[in-house]
Subunit: 180 residues, 2 copies
Amino acid sequence: MRVLGIDPGNAICGWGVIERAGSARFIATGTIRPPAALRGPARLMEIHTRLLATIDAYTPDAVSLERSFAAINVQSAFKLGEARAMAMLAAAERGVELFEYNPTDVKLTIAGYGRADKRQVKEMVRRTLGLDPATPLADDASDALAIALCHAFRARQPRPGAVRAAPARIRPRANPVGAS
Amino acid sequence: MRVLGIDPGNAICGWGVIERAGSARFIATGTIRPPAALRGPARLMEIHTRLLATIDAYTPDAVSLERSFAAINVQSAFKLGEARAMAMLAAAERGVELFEYNPTDVKLTIAGYGRADKRQVKEMVRRTLGLDPATPLADDASDALAIALCHAFRARQPRPGAVRAAPARIRPRANPVGAS
């Protein structure tokens, strides 16, 4: 199973692709940083275009997206909703199933502790994927890999008791627009 | 000048097209209501596809979008941000300039009163566009026409003193992806 994890953001959108057949294997990761000169609609279009290209390049079986309910302000929620929408739309357009996990589930799955900090999550992502500690790994790229790993582990090892851990399964339409 | 006004929403997305050359003329209006069975990504794709089709059908010179800062909760802001993003992306993809107005500006421009209610705004939309009072007009369609009229009047009659009334002008890129 190949999973594309996305850590959505208007300034920086992290992404990471992993493959799981038994153990998890690192495929690729990166960040989308639209130039500061791009405003509103053009920024979103840049994120959308780059995410579509990433899906086309790595042909994931599933997209795993962070679903944040953090008590940020309304204005931040608008911005984050806009960036999240680009990931949701790209997945639907390519007919790839989307799964959403909240940050606590991701941390619990990766670090075994729902309040793990970014450093701990990054350390576990490196260890799980056997990444060289010397290789640079941006925070947003690490978060995206963690979100991808979360889906890979949850989908393979369902925990019937953990209701909140269940992915929000959203089926794309049979004939998605733009599907190749 | 032909303007497409959009009142974004995840459940109902209103749109309205008007033309202004001297007085304002009604062209078309409608609402996009994705079926209840469509969830998350598929809902957004439906809104995006329908908005692109509307832009292609009516070839507006500008898209006018409501920019709400109302004190709704974070969860509502996420949903609204996602729907707004579909309008922003569709405009950018077709290379149409996007302008945003807050609800007070729209009401002030249409009804002469920033706290006008939906009924008053609808009455003024009907009167301005010479619509038959017997013709049904959905709230979201009326709001979208009001947003379109707001841009048409503001763009033609700039009020240098009213700083808050200035549209947030966002230039699309020179070669938008998907532009026809």
